[in-house]
């Protein structure tokens, strides 16, 4: 029971750090509300949306659902690499071991105001 509570608290801390690191990237417009099944990390009294922490055979994995900022420089593979790098650094700063797979899902592209609207 105590171990479960500690793990959930730890997962929420990880999720919060990961999503903060991802959203700090200039190419990321925000966290996706997730159409359909909600992607989130649930902890005691707290939910971190847009990121799911998984643990399989001792290895921690992360899945992030984000909205990319659409401009002429946008290149999703490069942006995903930047996000992964930032998330890895954030996780390492918490004293966690290196995460396994980091899945990045772009649910939408955000167009800045003033640009022609997507019809």
């Amino acid at each position: 029971m105590g171990d479960d509570f500690a793990r959930l608290t730890n997962d929420v801390t990880l999720a919060r750090a990961a999503i903060a690191a991802a959203c700090a990237m200039p190419g990321i417009a925000g966290v996706s509300p997730s159409h359909g099944v909600e992607v989130a990390t649930y902890g005691p009294g707290e939910t971190v949306r847009g990121v799911a922490v998984s643990r399989s055979s001792g290895k921690m994995g992360l899945s992030l659902h984000l909205i990319a900022r659409y401009d002429s420089a946008l290149a999703l593979p490069a942006l995903a690499e930047q996000v992964r790098g930032a998330v890895r650094d954030a996780v390492a700063a918490l004293g966690e071991g290196p995460p396994g797979a980091i899945d990045v899902a772009f649910e939408d592209l955000h167009v800045e105001e003033g640009c022609p609207c997507i019809p």
Binding site: A105, F106, E107, D108, L109, I118
Partner: protein
């Protein structure tokens, strides 16, 4: 939707339609129960002989018709979902993890790029990914009457292919553009550029 869920839905739709069809055929007297049902079930069925049973017969016909419609609707929904293509397109998938983009986001990107071309007044788009992860794009474009459909179609192809390959980072195998003159005559003057 997962493939298994999809197969279950298709199977359920077919079963509902077959059962409803069999019940309808028996109730209308087109076929006998022995012809369409296993003998154990068939022995329990008989044609209505009284007014009270005729009311039940009406309900049976109604229920069977409802079943046919429900089964057809389920299959139609699955067909639409299949035509819409996958919900996600894979950008990269390696030991570091998977990078995906939602198909509607790519469709919006295609529309956004196509609408920027002079002469394009409206765009609809569909995106699919084949087994080699190359993208296949289909656009339906309404072109202003003053513009050349051939030129606009070619411009849409080039712009969409370049934009998707740059932004999404996946090769585009083909962009099929269907052009039509904007306005009520659109359907009569359709043209396809491959």
């Amino acid at each position: 939707m997962h493939t298994l869920n999809r197969l279950i839905a298709i199977g359920l739709g077919l079963v509902i339609m077959v059962v409803a069809g069999a019940v309808l055929l028996i109730a209308l007297g087109v076929a006998s129960p022995e012809q369409v049902l296993p003998s154990a079930w068939a022995s329990r069925l008989r044609t209505p002989t009284s007014e009270a049973e005729s009311t039940g017969w009406g309900w049976t016909i109604g229920g069977a018709l409802l079943g046919l419609v429900a089964g057809a609707a389920l299959l139609a929904l699955e067909w639409r979902s299949w035509r819409r293509g996958p919900a996600w397109l894979t950008v990269t998938d390696d030991g570091l993890g998977r990078v995906r983009i939602a198909t509607p986001a790519v469709q919006a990107l295609v529309r956004r790029e196509a609408i920027r071309i002079d002469g394009v007044t409206r765009v609809r788009s569909w995106v699919d990914q084949d087994t080699t992860r190359e993208l296949r794009i289909r656009c339906r474009v309404a072109v202003a009457p003053s513009a050349s459909m051939a030129e606009v179609g070619e411009a849409v192809q080039n712009r969409v292919k370049a934009a998707v390959e740059h932004h999404v980072g996946r090769p585009v195998a083909e962009v099929v553009v269907e052009t039509a003159t904007a306005g009520p005559q659109a359907a009569r003057r359709a043209r396809r550029v491959r």
